[in-house]
C-alpha cells in the first residue's frame, strides 16, 4: 500500500535526521559514572555544549540541593532513595532488556492489547532489545503522528512558534532561556526541583510570540514513544501577549523504564491576555500487583500568569507510577488572570499518589477553579493536597474547589488535605469535598441493562470524572477513558 510505504519513508528520514528532534540515537556514547557531585553536573553541561551561564545555573541548583532535605510531608511511603546509586547522564541499559516479547511481563502486554497497540510497537514500548533498529517496519500508528508533526513543523515555523528540545533552545535561543528559566520554579524551590535543575538533560521548549495562536496542539506523544523519555525532564513554555497554546504531555501506553526516579520540572509563563493549556496523561509503570518496581514520579509544575487577563489551565489524568508526587500550580500575578486545575488520579494495587495544586492569588479579580477526582482501588492510597492562598492584594479574587473521592474496595485509602489561606476580606473561597463508593444500586442498574461488572464500573468512573475528562483535547479524552477502565481492572468483584 502506497500510504504505508510513504510512512516508512518518512520514518526512515526521521530516523536519520533524528538529532534535530533531540533523539540522541547513540545512547551508548556517554556514560557518566554512578553518583551525583559537581563533576557530574559539569559533565552534563559540557556534553550538552552549554554556555557558562547555564553551567553556573546548574551548579547553583546543585549546591542548593546539597543543603536541602527530601520532603516528608506527603502521604507516601517508600524505601530511602539513594541518590548516589544512579547514573545522571546517558543512562545506559543497566540490565539487558527482554530478548523478545515472550520475556515481557504478560500483564503489560495484555494492557497494550487492550489499548490496541500493534505488536511490533509493543516491543518498542516494552524495551525489547533491538526493537529500535526494527523501527521502520514497526510503525504506522505512532509514527504517523511523527510525520504529521514534521509537516506541522513547517507551519509552526511560519507562525514564528519555537518548539524544540530544551538543550537546543539553550544553544539557539539563549536570550529567551536565560530570561525565563527558573523564574517560575527557582533553582532552590524544592528538593526535587533543585535536583532537576542541576541535572536535567531533556525536555521541551516552547515560545509563542505576541498575538500568535499556535496553529496546532503541541505534543510530546511521539517523542515518548520513540525512546525512553528523560528521567529529569525540563519544560519551559512562554506565551507572549495574546498568544495561545495547548500542550499535550504523556502517553496512554504504560512503559518499561529502568529509571525508577523521575523528577521533572515544568514552567509556564503567560503574559497579558495569553493562554496556556497544559494537558497530561501520566501512565508510567506502576509496579506489579504486589507493588514491586514502578516509577517514583516527583514532579514540580508551576505556571505564572504574569499578564493581566492571562490564563493557565492544567488538566491531568494520573494513572501510572508507583508514587506520584505533583502539584501543578498557578501563580496569579496578573490582574484578572485565571488559573484552572482539573485532575483525575487513579490508584490501584499498591500505588500511592499525593497530588493536587496550589493557587496563589496575588492580584485583584483573579479567579481559580479546582476540580479534583480521586479514585482508589486495591491496596492503594491517594491524596488530594491543595493550597488556595488569597494574598492581601487579591481584591475580589475567587476560588472554587471541588474534590471528590471514590473508593473501590475496603483495602484502599482516599484523603483530602486542602489548605485555605485568606488575607483579603473581599476574596471568596469555596471548597467542597466528598468521599463515597460506587453504589450497589448503580452497579446493579447497569448490569441489569446488560453491562458486565467491569464495563459498569468503567462507565460509572468515567461519569464520575466527566468534568475533568471534558477538559482534555478530544483524542486524548478518548484514550484517557479507556485508560481509566484498564487501570481499575480487577479492582471489583
Amino acid at each position: 500500500m502506497p500510504a504505508v510505504t510513504e510512512t516508512r519513508e518518512t520514518v526512515e528520514k526521521l530516523a536519520k535526521s533524528s538529532y534535530e528532534w533531540g533523539f540522541e540515537t547513540d545512547i551508548e556514547m556517554d556514560i557518566a559514572p554512578k553518583g551525583l557531585n559537581e563533576e557530574t553536573v559539569r559533565l552534563i553541561s559540557e556534553r550538552k555544549g552549554e554556555p557558562q551561564w547555564m553551567l553556573d545555573w546548574r551548579l547553583k541548583a546543585f549546591r542548593a540541593w546539597l543543603e536541602m532535605e527530601e520532603p516528608t510531608w506527603a502521604h507516601i511511603h517508600h524505601p530511602p532513595i539513594d541518590y548516589q546509586d544512579a547514573h545522571y547522564f546517558a543512562q545506559p541499559k543497566k540490565k539487558p532488556g527482554p530478548k523478545s516479547l515472550d520475556e515481557v511481563d504478560p500483564e503489560l502486554l495484555r494492557t497494550y492489547a487492550k489499548l490496541g497497540i500493534p505488536l511490533h510497537e509493543q516491543a518498542l514500548l516494552a524495551g525489547v532489545e533491538g526493537a529500535e533498529e526494527r523501527l521502520p517496519v514497526a510503525v504506522d500508528a505512532v509514527f504517523d503522528s511523527v510525520s504529521v508533526a514534521t509537516t506541522f513543523r513547517k507551519t509552526l515555523a511560519e507562525a514564528g512558534v519555537i518548539f524544540c528540545p530544551i538543550s537546543d533552545a539553550i544553544r539557539e535561543h539563549p536570550e529567551l532561556v536565560q530570561k525565563y528559566l527558573g523564574t517560575v520554579v527557582p533553582v532552590a524551590d524544592n528538593f526535587f526541583g533543585a535536583l532537576n535543575s542541576a541535572v536535567f538533560t531533556d525536555g521541551s521548549f516552547v515560545y509563542i510570540p505576541e498575538g500568535v495562536r499556535c496553529p496546532m496542539e503541541l505534543s510530546t506523544y511521539f517523542r515518548i514513544n520513540a525512546r525512553n523519555t528523560g528521567q529529569f525532564e525540563r519544560t519551559l513554555i512562554i506565551a507572549e501577549d495574546r498568544a495561545t497554546v495547548s500542550y499535550l504531555e504523556g502517553c496512554t501506553a504504560p512503559q518499561r523504564d529502568e529509571n525508577q526516579l523521575h523528577a521533572a520540572v515544568v514552567e509556564l509563563i503567560a503574559m497579558e491576555d495569553a493562554s496556556i493549556k497544559y494537558s497530561t496523561v501520566q501512565n508510567w509503570y506502576p509496579g506489579d500487583d504486589e507493588g514491586r518496581g514502578g516509577i517514583y514520579n516527583f514532579v514540580t509544575k508551576r505556571g505564572i500568569c504574569r499578564g493581566a487577563r492571562s490564563k493557565i489551565s492544567w488538566t491531568q489524568v494520573e494513572t501510572g507510577s508507583a508514587i506520584t508526587w505533583k502539584y501543578p500550580s498557578c501563580v496569579l500575578a496578573g490582574e484578572g488572570s485565571v488559573g484552572e486545575f482539573y485532575s483525575v488520579a487513579v490508584t490501584n494495587n499498591h500505588q500511592q499518589a499525593d497530588t493536587g495544586t496550589k493557587m496563589i492569588h496575588l492580584a485583584p479579580n483573579t479567579r481559580s477553579t479546582i476540580i479534583a477526582k480521586t479514585i482508589s482501588a486495591g491496596k492503594s492510597d491517594s491524596t488530594y493536597r491543595g493550597l488556595v492562598r488569597m494574598q492581601p492584594k487579591a481584591r475580589n479574587a475567587r476560588n472554587f474547589t471541588q474534590c471528590d473521592s471514590l473508593l473501590i474496595g475496603d483495602q484502599c485509602g482516599a484523603h483530602t488535605v486542602p489548605y485555605i489561606e485568606s488575607r483579603n476580606m473581599t476574596a471568596r473561597v469555596e471548597h467542597e469535598a466528598t468521599t463515597s463508593k460506587i453504589s450497589e444500586d448503580q452497579l446493579f442498574y447497569c448490569r441489569s441493562r446488560g453491562l458486565s461488572e467491569e464495563d459498569a464500573v468503567g462507565l460509572i468512573v468515567n461519569g464520575f470524572c466527566r468534568e475533568v475528562l471534558k477538559e482534555l483535547p478530544m483524542e486524548f479524552a478518548v484514550e484517557a477513558q479507556k485508560l481509566l477502565q484498564i487501570s481499575l481492572e480487577g479492582s471489583v468483584g
Binding site: 510531608w73 502521604h75 488569597m390 492581601p392 473521592s405 473508593l407 473501590i408 474496595g409 475496603d410 483495602q411 484502599c412 485509602g413 482516599a414 484523603h415 483530602t416 488535605v417 486542602p418 489548605y419 485555605i420 489561606e421 485568606s422 488575607r423 483579603n424 476580606m425 473581599t426 476574596a427 471568596r428 473561597v429 469555596e430 471548597h431 467542597e432 469535598a433 466528598t434 468521599t435 463515597s436 463508593k437
Partner: protein, 391 residues
C-alpha cells in the same frame, strides 16, 4: 525553636523528673505541621513560673465579669488551685475516676503531662443524670502558667452537662487538659467558653473516648486570649458512637484563635458532625484545622464537617485546613469550607430598608453565627454564650 529557649528551660526545670518528654519534643516550630498556622514564638522567650494563690477579691471580680448560670453545681479553680469555698460537685457525681490513658504526641498534652496539677477527677455513676456542672478556671498573674488535669468518666447510661469556662487577667498560660471517657449509652455535653485575658495564651487539649451508642456533644466559643488553641481529639471507639465538635471563634485586635480537632472513627456506624464558624476583624487571625480519620473497620461512618470564615477587615486573615483521611469504602464523608466577607447585596438590602450600616453589619454577623450557636443543645448555656458574644 531551640532547645535552650527560656520557656522550655523553665518548663523542664519546673517539671523535675516529669520533663523528659517535653525536653525531647521542645516547643513546636512552624515547621511542625500541626502548628504551621499557630506559632508559639510569643511564649518562647519567657521563663514561665508557677502561679501564686489568688486573693478572694480578685476571684470575686473575675467571676462577676463572667456569664455564669444561676443553677447547677460549680467548681472554681484559681491559678491552678481548687477554691473549696466556692466549689461543690453535683450530688450524683463521685470523686476519683478510673484509669484514663493520657494522650501522647500532642504538644499541649505533653506540656500538661510535664507540669500537670490535679484538677477535676470525677465519675458519673451508671444510669445517673448529673445535671449541669460549671467548671471555672481563673488565672491572674504575670509570666505564670497553670496546667490543670481533669478526668471525667461517664459510666453506662450516665449523662452530664459540663460548662467549662476559662478567664483571667494578666499575661499567663492556661494549659488545661481533659481526659474524658463517655461510657456505653452515656451522653456528655461539653460547652466551653474561652475568655482568657487578651494577653494570655490558652492551650487546651481535650481527649475523649466515645463508647458504643454514646454521645459527645461539644461546643467551644473561642473569644479571648492573645493566642488560644482549643484542640480536641475525639475517638469513636465503638459502634454507633456520635460526636459533635462544633464551635465559634470571634477574633479581633492582634489576636489568634485556633480550633483544631481530630475526629477518629475507629468503629463502624459512627456519626460525626462539625460546624465551625469564625468571625475576624482588625488584624485578627483565625485557624481551623479539622481532621476526620476513618479507619478501615469504620464502615458506614457518616461524617460531615463545615467551616466558614467571615472576614470583616482588610488586615484579618484565616487559615483553614479541613482534612479527610479515609480508609473505609462504605462511608459518607464530606466537608465544605467557605471564606469571604459580608454579602454586599444583603448589606445593601438592609440599608435600603433604613437600617444604618453598622447595625446592618451586626445583624448579618449575628445571623452568620446564630446557626452555629443553635447547635448548643442546652438552652440556658446557649443564652449565656450568646450574651458573651454580644458583650
Amino acid at each position: 525553636m531551640t532547645q535552650d529557649a527560656p520557656a522550655l528551660e523553665a518548663f523542664v526545670a519546673r517539671a523535675g523528673g516529669q520533663g523528659a518528654a517535653l525536653a525531647e519534643t521542645g516547643l513546636p516550630t512552624r515547621r511542625v505541621e500541626a502548628w504551621r498556622y499557630t506559632p508559639l514564638r510569643t511564649i518562647a522567650e519567657t521563663a514561665w513560673q508557677k502561679a501564686a494563690s489568688l486573693s478572694s477579691e480578685t476571684v470575686g471580680a473575675l467571676l462577676d465579669a463572667l456569664p455564669l448560670p444561676e443553677t447547677g453545681a460549680r467548681v472554681v479553680y484559681g491559678n491552678g488551685q481548687l477554691l473549696s469555698a466556692l466549689s461543690a460537685l453535683p450530688e450524683a457525681v463521685q470523686q476519683a475516676s478510673e484509669n484514663v490513658s493520657p494522650l501522647k504526641g500532642v504538644f499541649s498534652a505533653t506540656l500538661n503531662a510535664a507540669l500537670g496539677a490535679k484538677g477535676l477527677d470525677i465519675r458519673v455513676p451508671a444510669g445517673t443524670d448529673a445535671g449541669l456542672l460549671t467548671l471555672v478556671s481563673l488565672c491572674d498573674g504575670q509570666d505564670v502558667s497553670t496546667h490543670l488535669q481533669h478526668r471525667i468518666v461517664l459510666e453506662e447510661g450516665a449523662s452530664l452537662t459540663l460548662y467549662d469556662v476559662g478567664a483571667g487577667e494578666g499575661r499567663y498560660i492556661a494549659n488545661p487538659r481533659f481526659d474524658i471517657v463517655v461510657g456505653k449509652g452515656a451522653t456528655l455535653r461539653h460547652v466551653k467558653l474561652q475568655r482568657e485575658s487578651l494577653s494570655a495564651t490558652h492551650l487546651a487539649i481535650v481527649s475523649v473516648d466515645v463508647a458504643e451508642k454514646s454521645e459527645y456533644d461539644s461546643f467551644t466559643l473561642n473569644q479571648g486570649g492573645s493566642l488560644a488553641r482549643h484542640e480536641a481529639v475525639v475517638t469513636l471507639g465503638a459502634a454507633h458512637a456520635i460526636a459533635h465538635v462544633n464551635g465559634v471563634q470571634i477574633v479581633d485586635g492582634q489576636r489568634l484563635n485556633d480550633l483544631t480537632s481530630m475526629i477518629h472513627h475507629a468503629a463502624p456506624d459512627g456519626s460525626s458532625r462539625q460546624t465551625v464558624k469564625t468571625v475576624l476583624s482588625d488584624a485578627g487571625q483565625g485557624v481551623f484545622q479539622g481532621k476526620i480519620l476513618v479507619d478501615r473497620v469504620a464502615q458506614k461512618t457518616d461524617g460531615y464537617q463545615m467551616n466558614q470564615a467571615l472576614l470583616l477587615s482588610e488586615k484579618a486573615q484565616i487559615n483553614s485546613k479541613p482534612e479527610l483521611e479515609i480508609y473505609a469504602d462504605d462511608v459518607k464523608c464530606s466537608h465544605g469550607a467557605t471564606v469571604g466577607a459580608l454579602d454586599d447585596e444583603q448589606l445593601f438590602y438592609l440599608r435600603s430598608r433604613g437600617v444604618p450600616e453598622a447595625e446592618a453589619r451586626d445583624i448579618l454577623v449575628r445571623a452568620f453565627l446564630i446557626d452555629a450557636l443553635d447547635l448548643v443543645t442546652h438552652e440556658g448555656l446557649r443564652d449565656l454564650l450568646l450574651r458573651s458574644i454580644t458583650s
